[in-house]
């Protein structure tokens, strides 16, 4: 039985009566359900300071007679409701209408703790605050790797992109505080600009109900949620300091929260993180440090009937990119692949030199809601994001401090969500979205912009119904329509426009009529209509067993990089070419999950299957000759793809002190058009964790985690030969072969001390890569150049006050 919470809110109506005599007043009232106005029978009403009790009749009515003038402290209780106290002053006969709320889904709005899923019928897993704190000095992508089926696409060890079921970038929706993140997420080496310390929990939705947020969750959705605060007068906070031996750096995070009984609340959080060069077991990774400065502010007002929430977050990241990964041509790449060590190995330093990325991300939102009696809840939200991405490369002379990529993405959205929930069994969610996005390739880089200036307009509307067939069976179904329009300004090379890609015949309407030397200015614009749907079923059996079945149809509009990329992507050391002929991607997704939730023994088995039509992939297509010599060319193309696999999770309580947790992910991705494997698919991986907990001994926890990643043997062979003019021979460019399997062990220990009257002190000591294993991960774009990180000793102090 799911634990029930309830929150009750009182609305007051006064009727006047002129009679005024001591101890003759009558308090009458009626208690009804907020949603459907039905009377609530059997609610207990207790006047605490007079110790008088009564309960409501079948009409929901109650009555107290012979009350004296004065203050009444009343407590209203009903089964499955949180007890609510209210104080009223009586100096005449009163009639009160009291509205009770007992709808479960509403509770996570105002109640602090919840173990409900966001969507009852979706396949999701969550990471809670205490686990996030383990990753305070790492990135969102690192923390998410805790979840089976989630891997990451890395550029070094600080730029980490989450990947769900082998899909990443614009195939994942990342929802941060109800705001969809837009941060030039198209690039393989563009990590989401999120400070994980600013948030309370993260949910990974692998299958189903994502329609509220967009139509394009082909991979899945990552929902980053803030904490809801209890309505009481309180002031609390925490400070977390961590230090790491590898990178000689760490993180300091502080937050303070003030809440008021009136419903107002405010929070300030700040975070600073710095690392120098990290170390692989055998050498320093020269130029791999990072500096990150983040802050967030929140204030709002929470009551059952109405409220608002204003949030602003600022993320300022500077990532060094391994110096050895900077290559000039394909022969440099061959040298790097054939060499066991990176070409630049220097002593430890905190310096962040070139190449590097510096990214600023501002996110602001204001959300307001109002509940309507006997109907539902309307939420309106406006949000904006400004993302400024600068990528610096190794350049000569005056240009050395000028970025090669300088993009500013400005996004603003207005959205409404109406939840109609007066019926007990059927809830309907509907809403509309309007979004305007502007990308500006900022002038002054001295290069042709990889992504051009564009304006993008989106309009979306959805309706989702959740129906409880009975106590144990729920279904949900939804449909969403989206319209998108991209209007870009881009200069094409005349030869490319006319001869290489034949655009002058395919898209004559995009030409503006001028030709400027070797360049032709164009004005490409595209409009898309998308329909997406989802269907979900959740069935609860005895023994905490539940079965979830999901189907989803998702469509994704090609992103600007897939359409417009054209030129050298310095930080990726390759020429990337997008094509105007890209069509939208359409995915049919099926997922099933059988879960048993119990502390003693629980498991989930989640097989899935995705068929993606017009899957857009970036693959190496050969080399082109430039003044730098031969250069690898990667071009976007479209194929039909299938991805299927299974995620397994097991937890078992061995005895009162020992727990076991294990997970396994198997995945296969196929390019069915060419009958070869898909590029960049995660390999089979599994993990085991044994934990010892002793609550009597300062909550001592010791856990040993093992993770193995097998070699990805299924990869497409895009290897090729190139001529090395210096050696006067053809050389083999092995960009496809994958590195061997590896196993890592981590040790985590923590203990909590009661350091002060109010609050606690927690100490944590961890060792990552316990045996200092040298390994390379095939989903790290820098795997050609250097090993992954070696052993790290990590020490954390958490103070809660």
């Amino acid at each position: 039985m799911i634990k029930l919470f309830c929150y009750c809110v009182i609305a007051i109506c006064l009727t006047t009566n002129t009679m005024a005599q001591d101890c003759t007043f009558t308090l009458k009232g009626k208690i009804t359900d907020f949603h459907n106005n039905t009377p609530i029978f059997g609610a207990s009403v207790h006047i605490k300071n007079l110790n008088k009790y009564t309960s409501t009749n079948h009409k929901g009515e109650f009555q107290f007679k012979n009350l004296c003038k004065g203050e009444l402290v009343i407590e209203v209780q009903h089964i499955a409701c949180e007890t609510k106290n209210l104080t009223i002053t009586i100096n005449q006969n009163l009639y009160k209408e009291i509205l009770l709320e007992h709808h479960l889904e509403e509770l996570n709005e105002v109640v602090v703790k919840t173990n409900f899923k966001t969507e009852a019928t979706s396949i999701e897993q969550s990471i809670k605050k205490n686990v996030l704190e383990e990753y305070s000095d790492k990135s969102l992508g690192d923390a998410l790797k805790n979840v089976s089926g989630v891997s990451s696409l890395n550029t070094g060890n600080t730029i980490v992109k989450p990947m769900i079921h082998g899909l990443h970038s614009s195939r994942l929706l990342i929802i941060n505080n109800n705001v969809r993140m837009f941060d030039q997420e198209w690039g393989d080496e563009h990590a989401p600009n999120i400070d994980i310390n600013a948030n309370n929990s993260i949910e990974v939705i692998k299958g189903a109900n994502t329609l509220k947020y967009g139509s394009d969750a082909i991979g899945g959705m990552i929902l980053i949620k803030p904490k809801k605060y209890a309505i009481k007068d309180s002031l609390f906070g925490s400070t977390l300091v961590s230090f790491n031996s590898n990178g000689l750096g760490g993180n300091i995070n502080s937050e303070i929260v003030k809440t008021y009984e009136s419903g107002f609340y405010g929070k300030i959080q700040m975070n600073y993180k710095q690392f120098g060069d990290f170390k692989a077991p055998d050498y320093y990774l020269t130029n791999s440090g990072t500096i990150s400065k983040n802050a967030s502010f929140r204030f709002g007002y929470n009551s059952f009937e109405k409220g608002f929430d204003a949030y602003y977050s600022y993320v300022d990241n500077e990532f060094a990119i391994l110096q050895s990964s900077h290559i000039g041509n394909v022969n440099d790449l061959v040298n790097a692949i054939n060499s066991q060590e990176p070409r630049v190995i220097e002593d430890f330093s905190y310096d962040i030199t070139f190449p590097k990325q510096s990214i600023l991300h501002h996110l602001g939102k204001i959300e307001a809601y109002k509940r309507f009696k006997g109907f539902g809840k309307l939420t309106v939200q406006y949000d904006f994001q400004i993302n400024r991405r600068k990528e610096f490369d190794l350049r000569r002379g005056d240009l050395s401090n000028t970025p090669v990529i300088d993009l500013r993405l400005f996004t603003n959205s207005l959205q409404t969500d109406l939840q109609i929930d007066y019926s007990d069994n059927l809830k309907i969610n509907t809403g509309i979205l309007a979004r305007y996005q502007q990308n500006d390739a900022v002038a002054g880089t001295g290069t042709s912009p990889l992504i051009p200036d564009y304006d993008k307009y989106d309009f979306g509307t959805y309706i989702i119904g959740n129906y409880d067939i009975n106590e144990s069976t729920k279904v949900s179904a939804g449909v969403r329509y989206d319209f998108s329009r991209i209007d870009a300004q881009k200069e094409y090379n005349v030869t490319d426009w006319r001869e290489t890609y034949n655009y002058d015949e395919l898209f004559p309407e995009f030409e503006t009529g001028d030709v400027d030397g070797t360049d032709i200015p164009t004005n490409p614009n595209f409009s898309y209509h998308n329909i997406s749907t989802s269907l979900g079923l959740a069935k609860q059996f005895d023994n905490n067993l539940s079965l979830l079945v999901n189907y989803g149809l998702a469509s994704r509009v090609p992103n600007p990089s897939e359409l417009f990329s054209d030129g050298l992507h310095h930080s990726a050391a390759r020429i990337e070419i997008g094509l105007l002929t890209m069509e939208k991607e359409t995915a049919n997704k099926f997922a099933i999950s059988l879960e048993k939730n119990s502390d003693d023994f629980g498991f989930s088995v989640s097989p899935y299957f995705k068929h993606i039509r017009n899957y857009i992939q970036l693959i190496p297509v050969g080399i082109t000759t430039t003044i730098r010599g031969a250069f690898p060319v990667w071009q976007y193309n479209q194929i039909n793809a299938q991805i299927f696999g299974v995620d397994l999770d097991v937890n078992k309580k061995i005895n009162s002190k020992f727990d076991y947790k294990g997970s396994l992910s198997l995945l296969r991705g196929n390019n069915i058009s060419d009958d070869i494997p898909l590029i960049h698919m995660p390999a089979t991986n599994f993990s085991n964790r044994i934990s010892y907990t002793n609550n009597a001994l300062n909550n001592l926890k010791i856990s040993l985690t093992h993770k193995s990643v097998l070699q990805q043997k299924r990869y497409p062979d895009y290897n090729f030969y190139t001529f090395n003019a210096i050696a006067q021979e053809d050389v083999f460019v092995d960009i496809s072969s994958t590195p061997p399997a590896y196993s890592l062990f981590n040790l985590n220990t923590s203990a909590v001390f009661k350091a002060f009257n109010k609050g606690s002190l927690e100490l944590e000591f961890n060792i990552e890569n316990l045996f200092d294993v040298s390994y390379r991960e095939h989903l790290n774009r820098l795997r050609y150049f250097a090993d992954e990180l070696g052993r790290n000793f990590n020490f954390k102090i958490k103070i809660k006050y």
Binding site: A368, N412, P452
Partner: protein, 183 residues
Amino acid sequence: MKTIKLLAILFISALTLSSCSDDDHDDDDHDHEEELITTVNYTLTNGDDVVTLSFVDLDGEGGADGTYTVSGSLTANTTYIGAIELLNATEDPAEDITVEVKDEGDEHEFFYSSNINGVSIEKTDEDGDGNPIGIETTLTTGDAGVGTLTIVLKHEPTKPNDNNADNAGGSTDVEVTFAISVQ
């Protein structure tokens, strides 16, 4: 519903702000590539005997392929004075990138190699640390032969090195291969 009005005002003002504050969005801010090397000229001089090797790719990466021009053949058993020149000819007047390379001589080095027997190239200039840069060279030919001459410019190579571009590290800024003949 005060908050909703506030939201509406915010939304409208943000749209307005974004549309007028954005001065450089619709302008032609597609820069000419400042760092682009379009032209490599290697001039070999022995008195009146001048041979010029040129590579020109005016539209940079992508677009039309670059073109190689060799003005004539080299004379056997002769020593030439060689000078290299890198230009960005998309600018007017063309920008001489060799100047930058010279200024940052300690971060750059040219490498020359030929598969014709008897052809050898020596660098005659030095950076501040006394290591060769390779803007100025002497080229000596031996017996007659046909083959290639490859010129490589490395950015941040190991200095000093064994004079082989493949072993010098750094990243390649220029790699051009000319078909030449010695007669």
